[in-house]
Amino acid sequence: MRYIPNTEEQKKEMLKEIGVSSFDDLIKEGVPQSIRLKGKLNIPEARSETELEEKIYNIAQKNSNFYLMKPLIGAGAYRHYIPEAEKFLLQREEFWTCYTPYQPELSQGTLQSIFEYQSYISRLIKMEAVIPSIYDGASATAEAALMSLRLTHKNKIMVSNLVHPHYRETVKTYLAPHEPEIIELPYKNGLVDLEKLKILINEDVASVIIQNPNFFGGIEKLAEISEIVHSKDALLIMVIAESISLGVLKAPGDIGADIVTGNAQSFGMDLNYGGPYNAYLATKKEYIRQLPGRIIGETTDVDGKRVFVMTLRAREQDIRRERATSNICTNHNLNVIAADIFLSLIGTKGLYQISLLNTKSAHYLENLLLKSKKFEKIFDYPFYNEFLLKSKEDIATINKKLLENNFVPPLKICEFYKEENLKNVLLFAVTEVLSRDNLNKVAKILSE
């Protein structure tokens, strides 16, 4: 076996050194004979590398050729262009094959990169302390909700109905054992219903979870929301599902967020059929002892050099066990490095321009589709790069046309929202991978 260097001869030699006559002799004490597997595992016999390559290529052919297919769908997973330099650098084994940086002397590459990423995110969202990696936006939002319960000692959470449906589901799953009251905050005309928020909120609420841009792409009135939430001493948890939006939108920390969670997939991560992505979870320094997960800090070594280490460790599971702020250990570290490289490449100007371009091209497409008269607006709301339109034509027909022309169709919103007026409504998403020509083509196909 090519991944196992020791030969049968060597193994025999080693068994002799151990002082046993056979492998069975070595394990008979620990593994009772009665539960040992009789015979071999019933799985296919080993295949050579060339056979395997053929097999997997064949399976891959059963997927559509997604490289050529431009997505009109987002809904929490966005295809952005990933510069080749990032993909190339990520292949370095020093990043790929190493363990969690428990030994800082041998891990400065990972540690410094995470520190840089924390610095980037802190600037983008204006928060002081950034946990660089929770698995994804959904689990990070659930962790933030748990954190708000610990900080306030209350047991009621309010969640906007326009938070990503999977995030809401995950929050419910994580919180279920603590039996909190979870209040769903309704929307009105594509945005959080501020009047309902005023009515529903009271002093018992630990936190209010709002996504911006929301699941419909809408831009929430965060300053007003923040005022209402804080007037009742609740914490405002702001969720970002599309982090590129930070290029043009105000930083959550500047508009009153207490905890911010963000899906960082757009920062240089492939779609990969749903994961691994990554999420940051950030807050103010006064709340750092309640943060879940790993964080990197700066210090010096014995020679006085600036170095980076894992810090504020006493919150974590390996030290605090059942009283830890979370059980998280392995996270999505390599995605953090990917994002650090991505943000370094696009830089100040790049982030602004991609964000601007995504906003404008989404509005361009909406305009074209409305002009075609085959679609109509159902809400009049400001949006970023995703928008809802009701189709006059049957959705199955639209999907067929789009797939035939190498576009991944937009999301049927009725998969997640059962309201009568959301039938036959599509959630379109536009990023820079769709050129003006692509958008014109989409409009043309859908006008016919």
């Binding site: 002892r289 460790r313 006493a314 030290i319 605090r320 009283r323």
Partner: protein, 128 residues
């Protein structure tokens, strides 16, 4: 390893000490405890007026690589908190029995003192 023990104090099995003056008790952690923890970096905020039962957690103390509860040796109400150690936790490492005291408690029931150890008993208890 160090384990300095002071006379005329009461001690707990969880390594706190208590100095009793009339109805008031001063609480800190022992030299043994600070040595086991190593460099202390953080002490969780204590609310004045908090009422605690004997053995309940008064606060949590963190070092770089460990964390531990500080339990109250007696039941009572927290009447004073040592703001100086809250600011500079290294005082606890340097002077666990003096400047490093953590809080003062109004003792509810002096009978509870019977459950605590004296300096000799504590020395014996923590002998390696």
């Amino acid at each position: 390893m160090t384990n300095k023990v002071i006379k005329n104090l009461y001690y707990t099995k969880s390594d706190e000490w208590l100095k009793v003056e009339d109805d008031m008790g001063t609480v800190g952690i022992t030299d043994y405890a600070q040595d086991q923890l190593g460099d202390i970096v953080y002490l969780e905020k204590i609310k004045k007026g908090k009422k605690l039962k004997q053995g309940e957690a008064l606060t949590t103390i963190e070092s770089v690589k460990a964390v531990s509860d500080v339990n109250t040796p007696v039941s009572g109400e927290v009447i004073e908190v040592n703001e100086k150690v809250m600011e500079d936790t290294s005082i606890i490492n340097k002077e666990p029995y003096g400047e490093g005291w953590i809080a003062k408690i109004n003792i509810d029931n002096k009978d509870e003192l019977k459950k605590l150890m004296n300096n000799q008993e504590y020395s014996e208890y923590r002998k390696e």
